[in-house]
Amino acid sequence: MRNIGSKIYSSIRLYLHYVSINIRCVMQYKTSFFLTAFGQFLVSFTTFLSVFFMFQRFSSVEGFTYSEVLLCFAVMLMEFSLAEMFARGFDQFSGMVRRGEFDRVLVRPQNEIIQVLGSKFELTRFGRMLQAVVMFVYGILKSGIDWNFSKILTVIFMLIGGTTVFTALFLIYAAFCFFTLESLEFMNIFTDGAREFGRYPVGIYGEKMLLFATFFVPYALIQYYPLLYILGRRTERIYMFLPLLACGFLIPALLFWKFGVRHYKSSGS
């Protein structure tokens, strides 16, 4: 037991060390950092504007009002940007495989996931995060939710579950590179696409989409169902814990990654 404990401790320390190197590295180019962070802010800001102007014309969609949709969008954006901040290393993994850099990772006596994770820490995503927080505050103020302890806990569960699901998706995205060497454009629909379309509650996309998002990729568990609980449309306690259940999505992702590592053939020189 003590052995595992110290192993986890050293992994976390290593990861934090990687993060601090990355941050110091980025801070060498301060102007570029702030411009990119501002750019990130702007990208999701135009998505926000598209929601805003749709609601100038329509008062509600499938029973959700503007502030409720904003709340949903904000939580999804927070989940996504948290996952992106920590797990963006997986995004550039195709380059790592193609250049043969993954060989170096494999020969080091440390967990390879930690090393890939540590290869990139995207602090610029903080621009996106900032916007999510502003929208979240606005959504809370306007939607007139009657907050209590279990609802606050649900939001925290949503953030944990959502960050885990998106991290798992980034991991699957990266694991495909073991087989294709290229990052798969199609996977974008599950990551960037989910962020874009997650601005509306999954329920509005119809029955079939909801089934898909419940049982295949658990977007609905981190967004739609807990949202219903927070808004008071559903009172069953189970809705509160669904986001934690969604964390289970990490297991097949990890297995797929392990499978990929075993099949890894070095390329590059």
Binding site: Y29, S32, L35, T36, F38, G39, Q40, L42, V43, F45, T46, T47, L49, S50, F53, M54, Q56, R57, F58, S59, S60, V61, E62, L184, E185, F186, N188, I189, G193, F197, Y200, I204, Y205, G206, M209
Partner: protein, 267 residues
């Protein structure tokens, strides 16, 4: 002119080679188009009377947008060109006895066109056979269809011309990442790539339609579904030509300036 045509041909043939990438792109665009349509369906259900254009025209707009994404997506700029400006390889291009701007222009048209040719037909064919109202409908009239084709070409030229400005600005900034991000998101928003321009409030839409960004996908995609009056179409086409002349001219001048004070990076 002949040399630019052969630049065009080379790029076009090269672009046609990436069939695997096209296949991946097609499936992504299908999923994307489908999800967009579901959003608009939900809003249509909520309040059909607030819809500024008919539902079938909206669906046609969304499918055409996906089919011709490569023609109008401003974010599909070529990284190769930016890289060559940053690492100095652009010097080789400058050695050629050809005008840099025209070269970039013909090259961009070719790569966009080759991508679109590979991707548009599968999407259009499936969209035609989808059950109504989720499929693409026939153009409003033969006249609308011809105008659609003309404005499609004008829109492509306009996209290339606008992106050309960004390429050339990269000569001045060296680190164009932030500039690109800002340009992409602003252009997408004002061009009607996020939501079609008719969905904006009246006052706002009137201003947006005057901007150069409205001359990209907005004009052909709306003409196809017949949601513009004759007068509006005339005005839109006039604006397309006007902005095309202005941005191309500006691009040429900027390019000239950039070449006068160029510092080639790297060695």
């Amino acid at each position: 002119m002949k040399k630019y045509l052969s630049f065009f041909r080379l790029r076009f043939i090269m672009g046609l080679q990436y069939r695997g990438a096209a296949l991946a792109g097609i499936s992504t665009q299908f999923a994307w188009g489908f999800m967009e349509i579901m959003i608009f369906r939900a809003f249509y259900r909520a309040d059909p009377s607030s819809f500024p254009m008919s539902f079938s025209a909206t669906v046609s707009y969304l499918w055409l947008q996906q089919a011709f994404l490569a023609l109008f997506a401003v974010w599909m700029m070529e990284n190769e060109i930016f890289d060559s400006i940053i690492n100095g390889d652009i010097a080789y291009e400058l050695c050629r006895p050809a005008d840099l701007y025209s070269m970039l222009f013909s090259r961009s048209i070719a790569s966009r066109l080759s991508r679109a040719v590979l991707r548009c037909f599968p999407i259009l064919i499936v969209a035609v056979f989808l059950p109504q109202p989720y499929g693409i409908s026939a153009p409003a009239s033969p006249r609308h269809f011809i105008l659609f084709l003309i404005t499609l070409i004008l829109g492509l030229l306009m996209t290339v011309s606008l992106c050309g400005l960004v390429y050339i600005l990269a000569f001045f900034t060296i680190s164009p990442a932030g500039l690109r991000l800002m340009f992409n998101s602003a252009a997408d928003f004002f061009a009607g790539a996020l939501i079609p321009l008719p969905f904006f409030p009246e006052k706002m839409r009137e201003i947006m339609e005057l901007l150069p960004f409205a001359s990209l996908q907005n004009v052909p995609l709306r003409i196809y579904g017949g949601s513009m009056s004759s007068y509006e179409m005339q005005k839109a086409i006039f604006l397309q030509i006007f902005w095309l002349v202005v941005t191309t001219f500006a691009g040429k001048i900027l390019c000239h300036l950039a070449q006068r004070r160029m510092i080639v990076q790297g060695g």
